[in-house]
Amino acid sequence: MEKSIKGKAFVLGENIDTDQIIPAEHLVYSLTDPKESQLYGKYAFSGVPLKESGLPNNNIPFVNGEELFSEYSIVIGGSNFGCGSSREHAPFALMKAGVKVVIAESYARIFYRNCVDGGFIIPYEVKEKLNKIISTNDEVEILLDENKLINHTTKKEYPLNPLGDILPILKAGNLFEYARQSGMIL
C-alpha cells in the first residue's frame, strides 16, 4: 500500500447508490477482459444526475465525453455511500476509472466489503461532513500512515477514521491474498 495518495477530489451528496455508481444496463461487460472491462471505468458515476454531479457547483461529469478514465482519483461522499445492490461492479468501476480512495461519513455494508475484500479502493470513514467542506477539483492528499487528509487548495487538514480490522486485508491486496498469507487457504 502506498504511503500517500494525491489527486483531484470529486465531491458527491448523500446516499449515492450502486445504480448511480454503475447503472444496471452496464453490468453485462466482462470484468476480466482488459479492453471490455475498461467500459466500467467509462460509465462510472454515469447514473448520477448531472445536476448533482461534482459538488458544490455541479454539472461536472466524472468522466468526460468518450474518455475511459476520470481525472479524479479521490471521491468524497456523504452518508450511506454505496447503498443499494450487491454489485461488486461498483467499486470495480471506480477503480477502473482511476479512483484510489473514497472518503465518506458512512458506507453500505456490501459496498464496503466489496471495496476491501476485492482490493479495489480504500474506503475511509470520516466524522466531519467533508462533502460540504471540500470542493470538486480541489487538490487533496491522503496520508495513509497518519489517517489524514490534506486539502492543498485550501491548506487545511482533516483526520480520517483509522481503517482498523480491514487494514491487514487492504495491505495484503485482497481477501484471497490475506487468507493465503495467514495460512487459511493454500
Binding site: N15, D19, E25, V28, N80, S85, I110, N114, D117, G118
Partner: protein, 431 residues
C-alpha cells in the same frame, strides 16, 4: 444476557457457544446462491484465485438461478447465461436452473423458497442484496459481492461482523387495505436508508405471525433498503408446513431469548396504519398515499422479488377484476411457479391471468425485468421522464431505467387502484 435469533444462528454457524455484536467471526455457509449478473464474475475470481486447484466446496450447497437479464437480445447479457451454462456442465452442478428449460424458475429469492433451500436455522449467502428475503424462514441470509462469493465457493467460509439487532413488533389486525409493503415502508420512513446499516432487523408480533409466507418475505426483502445485513422472522408452524412440502432437510428453530439485547425496539399497532408510498428518489422518502393522491402516472408495475409473488397478484386482482387499466400496467410474476398459479387461482371463477388480460395489463415472463432497469429492451423499463408506481423495492435515480423517471413504491393494492385511475389512488377509495 440472552441472545437474539440472529446471534444464535451465527453462533451455531461459527461453532461457538455464543457471539456478541461487533465480533468478527468466520461462518460455515449452508447455501451459496448466485445469478447471471454476479455468477460469471464470481466464477472468474474463483478460477483465478484457486487456479488448477479450484474446487467447489460442496456442489449440493451451490444454487444458481439465472434471473436478471433473461428475455433480452443484449449479446453481453446472453453471454453471461452461456458462461453459467458452461460452468454448470463442466462441474456437473446439480442445482442449476437453466433458461429455456422446464427447470427455469425466475427470480432467485422467491425460487430459493419455492425449491426448498430456505431452511430455518441455516446460513445462506447470495450475490444479491435482496438475499435477506430468506430471513422470513427464521434463518440468517445476506448479500455479498463477487469476491466474497468466490471465497465461499472455494472454502465454504466467510467472515462477518455480528450485527446488533433492532426489533420491530407489529401488533393488532391488518386492515384489509394494508399489506406487508405498507409495514416495511413505515419502518423505512422511521429508520431511513441507513438506520439498519450493519444491523439485523427482526420482526415479530401478532400482525407479523398472521402474515402468509409471501407477505413475510416482503418484510425481510426490504430490510436491505434500510441498509441492514439481514431481516429475520422466527419460524412458526406456517413456516414448518411450507418447508415440509418442499424439503426433507432437517431444520432447527431458533427463537430470541426474553433477555436478548437489542439496539432499539419499535412497537406498532397496525390497526391505525394507512397506505404509504416511497416518493422519488429514495425508499425512505415516505408519505401517505392520501398526500400524493392525484399524481398523474404513465405506467404501473407489479413484479419483482418484493411485489411479484402470488399474494401480490391476488391483492391486485381484487381491484382489477372487472375493470380496465387506464395506463400501461405490467404484471411480472417473480417465478414461473407464480406465473402458473395465475392460471389456477380464481376470482368468481375467472383466473387471475384472465382478470389481468381482460383489464388490458401486459403480462410478462418471470424474471427481474424492469425492477432494476436492465438492458434497453427490458419489458416495462422506465423511459425518459415517466412517472411510475411500482411494487418493487428501490427508487433511486435510474433504478428502473431512465434516471429522469420518477418512481413511487407502494403496495400491490395501491398500485392496482392507481392503475384503474391513471393517477396515484388510495386503495381505500375502492373499498
Amino acid at each position: 444476557m440472552g441472545m437474539t435469533i440472529t446471534e444464535k444462528i451465527l453462533a451455531k454457524s461459527s461453532r461457538r457457544k455464543s457471539v456478541v455484536p461487533g465480533e468478527n467471526i468466520w461462518l460455515n455457509v449452508d447455501v451459496l446462491m448466485t445469478h447471471d449478473v454476479c455468477g460469471p464474475p464470481t466464477i472468474g475470481i474463483w478460477k483465478k484465485e484457486f487456479g488448477d486447484k479450484a474446487k467447489i466446496w460442496d456442489k449440493q450447497k451451490l444454487v444458481i438461478f439465472p434471473d436478471h437479464y433473461i428475455f433480452t437480445k443484449n449479446p453481453h447479457a446472453n453471454r453471461n447465461v452461456e458462461i453459467l451454462r458452461a460452468f454448470a456442465k463442466e462441474y456437473d452442478i446439480p442445482n442449476y436452473y437453466d433458461v429455456g428449460t422446464e427447470r427455469y424458475k425466475g427470480v432467485c429469492h422467491i425460487a430459493l423458497a419455492e425449491e426448498g433451500y430456505d431452511i430455518p436455522g441455516t446460513v445462506l449467502f447470495g450475490t444479491d442484496s435482496h438475499t435477506c428475503t430468506s430471513g422470513a424462514f427464521g434463518m440468517f441470509s445476506t448479500g455479498v459481492g463477487n469476491t466474497d462469493a468466490a471465497f465461499i465457493l472455494g472454502t465454504g467460509k466467510i467472515w462477518e461482523k455480528v450485527p446488533e439487532s433492532l426489533l420491530f413488533t407489529f401488533e393488532g389486525e391488518l386492515p384489509q387495505y394494508i399489506t406487508a409493503k405498507d409495514l416495511i415502508l413505515r419502518v423505512l420512513g422511521d429508520i431511513t436508508t441507513n438506520g439498519g446499516t450493519y444491523r439485523a432487523l427482526e420482526f415479530n408480533g401478532d400482525a407479523v405471525f398472521s402474515l402468509s409466507i409471501d407477505e413475510r418475505m416482503t418484510l425481510t426483502n426490504m430490510a436491505i433498503e434500510a441498509g441492514a445485513m439481514n431481516g429475520i422472522i422466527e419460524a412458526d408452524e406456517i413456516v414448518e408446513n411450507y418447508i415440509k412440502e418442499r424439503s426433507d432437510k432437517e431444520y432447527e428453530i431458533f427463537k430470541s431469548d426474553i433477555d436478548a439485547g437489542y439496539k432499539a425496539k419499535y412497537k406498532y399497532n397496525v390497526n391505525e396504519f394507512i397506505p404509504l408510498v416511497a416518493k422519488p428518489h429514495s425508499p425512505d422518502n415516505i408519505d401517505t398515499v392520501k398526500n400524493v393522491k392525484g399524481r398523474k402516472l404513465t405506467k404501473c408495475y407489479i413484479g419483482s422479488c418484493t411485489g411479484g409473488k402470488l399474494s401480490d397478484f391476488v391483492s391486485a386482482a381484487k381491484f382489477i377484476f372487472g375493470n380496465e387499466v387506464r395506463v400501461p400496467t405490467f404484471i411480472v410474476p417473480a417465478s414461473t411457479y407464480v406465473a402458473q398459479q395465475l392460471e389456477v387461482e380464481t376470482i368468481s371463477g375467472v383466473t387471475l391471468k384472465n382478470v389481468f388480460e381482460k383489464a388490458g395489463c401486459v403480462i410478462a415472463q418471470s424474471s427481474c425485468a424492469a425492477c432494476l432497469g436492465g438492458p434497453m429492451d427490458t419489458i416495462g423499463r422506465a423511459q425518459d421522464n415517466e412517472v411510475i408506481i411500482s411494487t418493487t423495492n428501490r427508487n433511486y435515480p435510474g433504478r428502473m431505467g431512465s434516471k429522469k423517471a420518477e418512481v413511487y413504491l407502494a403496495s400491490p393494492l395501491t398500485v392496482a387502484a392507481s392503475a384503474l385511475t391513471g393517477e396515484i389512488t388510495d386503495p381505500r377509495d375502492f373499498m
